[in-house]
């Protein structure tokens, strides 16, 4: 479980996050939604420590992460896996080397053991016979899946995904969503997904948090979204004609 308490963050004179309080549950896909520029990515990067927060606490299972020193944070980060928007695979390394990297860095496994674990992770994300390919040779969806394989190589307790579906076709996006959901349940991880893709929300949103102009505006489940009276959330979620039609149909029946 991850708790965010009274979190505020500014860049120079612009306040990006304002007194945020959220509890992210273990074993669930916690989705953070909001418009571009609402502060989702800053929130995620603040939680993982890539941004220093101005005020507030980030608590990972009872440990106040932002109060730890550099060395303690480093230890804690071994329990964190993160999927970046573009995958962030190392360009000069093959798929196998990318997934093997955390194992090389933080374990004393033999090469055979590392290779076995790498193949296990790649198989889990349905990447087969691509070990020797470089990131430039992979499709967008494959890159994301390899990045997930790398993120889970060390069996992390926490998984963070920043816009996992950006730039993907709906079918591949669905595949990635389901993969994140399955892995979350399988490894009993606390997963936080940043997205503005409503298909993802409806597919895997166990818990949904809506961020609006740096404030936590709404919290609920994917089913609650249809019944909410929250104006800003409705404008965001049902912005398209298709989603408005779905809402009308659901309300009708």
């Amino acid at each position: 479980m991850i708790e965010v308490k009274n979190l505020s963050k500014s860049f120079e004179h612009t306040k990006v996050l304002n007194d945020i309080n959220i509890v992210f549950d273990k074993g669930k896909a916690n989705l953070v939604i909001g418009q571009s520029g609402s502060g989702k990515t800053v929130l995620l990067k603040s939680i993982v420590g890539l941004h220093n927060v101005d005020e507030g606490e980030i608590v990972f299972d009872g440990t106040i992460f932002n109060h730890l020193n550099f060395k303690e944070k480093k230890e804690m980060r071994k329990e964190i896996g993160m999927l970046f928007q573009g995958g962030a695979l190392f360009d000069s390394s093959t798929v196998e080397e990318n997934v093997m990297f955390p194992l090389d860095m933080f374990t004393e496994m033999s090469f055979e053991e590392k290779r076995e674990r790498t193949n296990e992770c790649l198989k889990r994300v349905n990447i087969i016979n691509a070990n020797q390919l470089y990131p430039a040779e992979l499709s967008g969806g494959m890159k994301k899946r390899v990045a997930i394989a790398r993120a889970i190589a060390l069996n992390p307790k926490y998984l963070f995904c920043d816009e996992p579906n950006s730039g993907l076709d709906p079918k591949t996006a669905l595949l990635i969503d389901n993969l994140i959901k399955e892995i979350t349940i399988e490894f009993n991880m606390t997963t936080i997904v940043n997205t503005h893709d409503m298909n993802s929300v409806m597919e895997i949103g166990d818990k949904v948090i809506f961020i609006y102009k740096g404030d936590k505006w709404w919290e609920g489940t994917k089913d609650d979204i249809f019944d909410t009276e929250n104006k800003e959330l409705n404008e965001f979620v049902f912005a398209s004609k298709l989603s408005q039609k779905i809402k009308d149909l659901k309300n009708h029946y």
Binding site: K73, K74, R77, M82, F84, G86, D91, D104, M105, F160
Partner: protein, 246 residues
């Protein structure tokens, strides 16, 4: 940002770079890769430039010492001292600042803007040390070899130019390059080349590491890396010359 700020950030980065590596074996592997990429791949440019510069220095010296009062071997001696004292260390370093400096800044800069550095940090890896230390070790270790290679090739180029154009005899040239030889000049050149390599690598890495935005900004970082490395080389050339030769 002011110069003081840049120097401060640069020193903080160096502190992170020289902190204890997580896993020496991985750093060793990376260093070998960097020696190949930054060192061995620079051999040809050093060879080509050195042979031509050696030839030009010889011809120009001959042109300026046509008076019979000057002994012919003076051409060899001048070519040797020019190459040893300045060309093989400083000029080669300035050329490498263009080649290696832009390479390092754009590589690390691209890693920054594509969040690869963030990915390393999230894993708990000291990204500054992991990315920059192997490059510094590789270039500082390999640059003296490039410097020595440049000296030999430059002197050889001078000999070829001198003999084939009929400016002087082979004996005069060989006598000249042996005449009043001061071995310390080689030590001086090697020290300079190691220091310049450190400056090129660390300054370029600094610009790459603190890149932000997109490809345009990475390009700008790359340009800054070359300009600032070159200025630092010239400044430290003056300081080292004063310290080591006075």
């Amino acid at each position: 940002m002011s110069l003081i700020n840049h120097i401060g950030k640069y020193l903080v980065l160096l502190y992170r770079v020289f902190s204890r590596p997580e896993k020496l074996k991985l750093y060793y592997k990376e260093t070998i890769k960097e020696i190949d990429k930054l060192g061995l791949n620079s051999i040809w440019i050093v060879v080509i430039i050195s042979v031509f510069m050696g030839a030009v220095i010889t011809i120009q010296t001959a042109y300026n010492t046509e008076n019979p009062i000057y002994p012919k071997y003076l051409i060899g001696l001048t070519a040797r001292d020019t190459l040893l004292l300045e060309f093989s260390s400083t000029i080669v370093a300035l050329i490498l600042a263009g080649k290696i400096g832009s390479n390092i800044a754009s590589e690390i800069g691209t890693m920054r803007v594509t969040e690869q550095i963030d990915a390393l940090e999230i894993m708990g890896v000291n990204s500054a040390s992991f990315l920059i230390l192997p490059k510094i070790v590789a270039t500082v270790f390999f640059s003296p070899f490039l410097c020595i290679l440049s000296m030999f090739i430059g002197i050889f180029g001078g000999w070829v130019a001198g003999v084939t154009t009929g400016i002087m005899t082979s004996q005069d040239y060989i006598y000249g390059i042996q005449y009043a030889f001061i071995p310390y000049y080689i030590v001086y050149a090697l020290i300079k080349s190691a220091v310049f390599s450190f400056l090129i690598t660390s300054i370029s890495a600094y610009h790459g590491y603190y890149s932000f935005g997109g490809s345009l900004e990475v390009g700008q970082s790359s340009t800054k890396a070359v300009v600032h490395s070159s200025i630092s080389i010239l400044l430290f050339n003056l300081i080292l010359t004063q310290l080591l030769l006075s």
